[in-house]
């Protein structure tokens, strides 16, 4: 390989057919005299502009577009040299760092010698060694392109905002399961909003047996094994549900606040008493109707109960998880849109409450297709306010434009799977921890189950890795008609 040119932080390197370099690979451009080296990443591989190639190609097809048949007597065997030159490639590389005295700096202000520099592939383990990423809580994501293991540290997810995105069936849920399982093993508390019932079997192996995490996976299905009593909810959370999920108007909200206060004072916070109080409450008929309709919505969703014994699972699960680590899977499959919002409002309110009271240390929240249940104002809440309470969110989506731009800007880690749609790539490339060229060029060519890891987890060295397989029971498969 030979250094060809540098423009800004883009370096072009000439590579020959016997040097197999692919998009995503890291190269070390070492200048012996300077005693410095550039770490560059290949973001595109192009044909080198070799003079005469067009003539060469045209010459091979002069017979009406068909290959002209013949024999080449090439006693000096020049033909392999022609092929060698013709197949030379130009590697478009992005400068990632400078190595000087075994330490890294983001500088790209110097220029290595074109004639004297040596260029070699930089194995991922060496890169990570240079980047000093040897944490104490390793999570092996899979294998990098050079077959070395790609291991991140769980602490790089701690207190961070993460996004897992990519086209359908590229392996997003698989990666999120992998992260969850590892976090649980490090005794972290994980809460998952499981829209399609994909995470229900995190405690089972692929052949249906219990795995080591079995006792740490708590599946809560709203209205079935997961109910709450009004007493547990608290006015603040319930108002959140009424206003944001059930769109209760302001005047009615004020009346509801009064009703709630009265019931609480009388220790009558039950569904039945709430209904009776609304019925007999002295207020405008329209307000009463509004309150009644919301009351019926709460009753009909089946999520609320007056039986305290039925409503202890979430607290129990959180308590268990807080000590030994565990994943609380909120199964939102078969739940209507409104009920989903009610449940999510409750869970988020409950988590903030528990974190505020230091009942919980911190929670890793995994939210799949969050736009389907997260109200508008929560997005900012999650990335700013809730982070300070200790809710560290990972958004998982195949529609990157459903996540707001400011979320991308503040994301600490992005795990990007294949995207071919330009618009989707545009959206993701707005993330501040990555340059648009890298995203556009590499993500477009990622095969299924390969992800481009960006951000703090990989010390801002974008790395392509094949996500490792998990011995978990597959759930949430698409129901098919023909098979």
């Amino acid at each position: 390989m030979k250094l060809y040119r540098k423009e800004g932080n883009i370096v072009q390197i000439l590579s020959f057919p016997n040097e197999t370099v692919e998009k995503g690979d890291y190269l070390l451009v070492e200048d012996g005299e300077e005693r410095r080296a550039l770490i560059v990443q290949v973001i595109d591989v192009q044909f080198a502009a070799i003079p005469g190639v067009l003539e060469e190609l045209l010459r091979s097809l002069p017979d009406g577009g068909e290959l002209i048949q013949g024999e080449d007597v090439d006693p000096l065997e020049i033909a392999p040299h022609i092929t060698y030159i013709q197949d030379a490639t130009l590697l478009i590389c992005k400068i990632r760092a400078t190595v000087e005295d075994d330490s890294l700096s983001p500088s790209s202000s110097w220029l290595p010698s074109r004639s004297q520099s040596t260029i070699k592939k930089l194995p991922i383990p060496t890169l990570f060694k240079l980047a000093k990423t040897n944490g104490k809580l390793p999570i092996t994501l899979g294998t990098a392109k050079d077959s070395s293991l790609l291991t991140i540290d769980a602490s790089s997810l701690d207190g961070r905002l993460n996004i897992i995105t990519g086209k359908k069936e590229t392996g997003k849920s698989h990666l999120s399961k992998l992260l969850m399982v590892n976090l649980v093993q490090y005794k972290a508390t994980v809460v998952v909003f499981d829209l399609n019932g994909e995470y229900l079997s995190l405690g089972m192996t692929s052949d249906g047996k219990r795995n080591v995490n079995y006792d740490k996976i708590h599946v809560l299905t709203p209205s079935q094994n997961f109910k709450v009593a009004l007493k547990q909810v608290g006015l603040h959370i319930l108002l959140g549900i009424l206003v944001h999920a059930l769109h209760l108007p302001g005047t009615s909200t004020r009346e509801f606040r009064r009703i709630w206060k009265e019931l609480r004072d009388k220790n009558m916070l039950t569904l039945n008493d709430l209904g009776e109080t609304i019925r007999n409450w002295n207020c405008n008929q329209h307000v009463r109707d509004a309150l009644f309709s919301r009351y019926h919505a709460l009753v009909n969703c089946g999520f609320f109960t007056d039986n305290i014994a039925e409503a202890t699972l979430l607290d129990e699960s959180l308590s268990k998880a807080n000590g030994e680590g565990g994943a609380i899977v909120i199964n939102l499959r078969n739940t209507s849109a409104i009920d989903r919002q009610i449940v999510v409002e409750y869970i988020l309110g409950k988590l903030v409450e528990s974190l505020t009271n230091y009942k919980l240390k911190a929670v890793f929240l995994f939210a799949e297709e969050a736009h389907l249940y997260l109200r508008e104002t929560y997005w900012d809440d999650i990335v700013t306010r809730m982070r300070h309470f200790g809710i560290f969110t990972t958004f998982i989506t195949n529609q990157p434009d459903t996540i707001r731009e400011n979320i991308y800007r503040q994301a600490d880690n992005i795990f990007l799977f294949n995207f071919t749609n330009e618009h989707d790539l545009d959206v993701v490339s707005r993330a501040s921890r990555v340059d648009a060229e890298t995203v556009r060029s590499i993500a477009r060519d990622l095969p299924p189950h390969y992800c481009l890891a960006l951000g703090k987890a990989v010390r801002d060295f974008p790395i392509v890795a094949k996500v490792k397989a998990l011995d978990l029971k597959t759930m949430g498969e698409t129901r098919l008609f023909f098979t």
Partner: protein, 340 residues
């Protein structure tokens, strides 16, 4: 097929390169083009009565040969040249080719005689031919070596094709340094023995009538047709072995000088051109087979790079850029050697 010459080409090529132990100077590649210097006496006349041609579609092989040479580097002692040739023939509506080379030679003042004489001797088994005591000078060597290869390829065609039309690039003038009369006569004679007719197309000519190039005379006839010339006399020792015509074979504006083996009867000459029209594509008045022969042997820039890569790798020689003296001396006013 007689393969002595290609073997000798290979052997001498490797020998000449292996003896070199000095860095090669890279230069703007120079393509050598053979332009016939035909100092003819002012006796040439053109018959203005055209011979109209009719395509003869009777299945006839059309074959052509061409060679190419190029100086690819310079050393302190000499030059590095590459030579390649191609034979191409059209049969049953499809083209086939045999391409030979490239051969790379490092020609120096010391080895030029040895290289040239060895090639001459080995190739044409020329016990009858006198070996040149004075081999061509360095500047002439690329064309002379290419000519040797071209004659050999032409000889191969005349030995292998039967009842066909064989196309040469250039003229049928002999008696020049690279085309001795006997050599060209033998090639033509062998062709005739196998029922072939040799047609030689010149892309450029110096033949003039009344001061005007014979190919520039615009006549208002509907092509394809030939115009016959008479009275061509060349300065000794040059001898035309062909009858010279102006061939306007297509509707384009271009006419070409066409030499047809003069030992062939006049009717057969015209018939051969008819067979060419009936069996080959004629685009812009030029036969496709000959065009392909030229295309196949011409060196592309990519191939030049590959050959330089070959000599760097296989002979341990280093390519260095030759300073452009025009640029060095005259700065922005130096036109550079590419213009020189």
């Amino acid at each position: 097929m007689d393969t002595l010459l290609p073997q000798q080409f290979t052997q001498l090529s490797l020998q000449s390169l292996s003896r070199s132990r000095q860095p090669f100077l890279q230069l703007n590649q120079q393509v050598f083009q053979q332009i016939g210097i035909e100092e003819h006496l002012q006796t040439l006349k053109l018959k203005l009565e055209p011979i109209f041609l009719h395509p003869i579609h009777k299945g006839t092989i059309v074959a052509a040969t061409d060679t190419s040479t190029m100086k690819i580097a310079e050393t302190n002692a000499g030059i590095v040249i590459a030579v390649r040739g191609a034979n191409i023939w059209k049969q049953n509506d499809s083209y086939r080719y045999t391409r030979i080379g490239p051969f790379i030679f490092h020609i120096t003042e010391e080895n030029r005689r040895e290289v040239y004489n060895s090639l001459e001797k080995s190739y044409f088994n020329s016990t009858r031919e006198p070996i040149h005591q004075n081999a061509p000078n360095l500047a002439q060597m690329p064309l002379r070596i290419a000519s040797l290869l071209e004659r050999w390829l032409q000889a191969m065609l005349t030995k292998t094709v039967s009842n066909g039309v064989i196309l040469f690039d250039g003229s049928l003038i002999s008696g020049t340094a690279d085309t001795p009369i006997r050599r060209m006569s033998e090639i033509l004679s062998r062709g005739r023995e196998r029922g072939n007719t040799v047609l030689a197309f010149s892309k450029m000519t110096t033949l003039r009538v009344n001061g005007c190039l014979i190919t520039d005379l615009a006549l208002d006839y509907r092509p394809p047709y030939l115009l016959e010339t008479v009275g061509l006399k060349l300065k000794a020792p040059m001898l035309p072995l062909g009858e010279v015509y102006v061939a306007k074979l297509g509707k384009s504006n271009w006419a070409f000088r066409l030499d047809v083996d003069r030992e062939v009867p006049s009717e057969q000459r015209i018939e051969a051109v008819g067979k060419l029209l009936g069996n080959d594509l004629v685009s812009q008045g030029y036969p496709e087979t000959l065009r392909l022969a030229h295309i196949l042997c011409t060196f592309t820039a990519n191939e030049v790079l590959a050959m330089q890569h070959f000599i760097t790798r296989n002979c341990g020689l280093k390519m260095i850029n030759r300073p452009d003296m025009h640029r060095l001396l005259f700065g922005p006013f130096g036109r550079g050697e590419s213009y020189s």
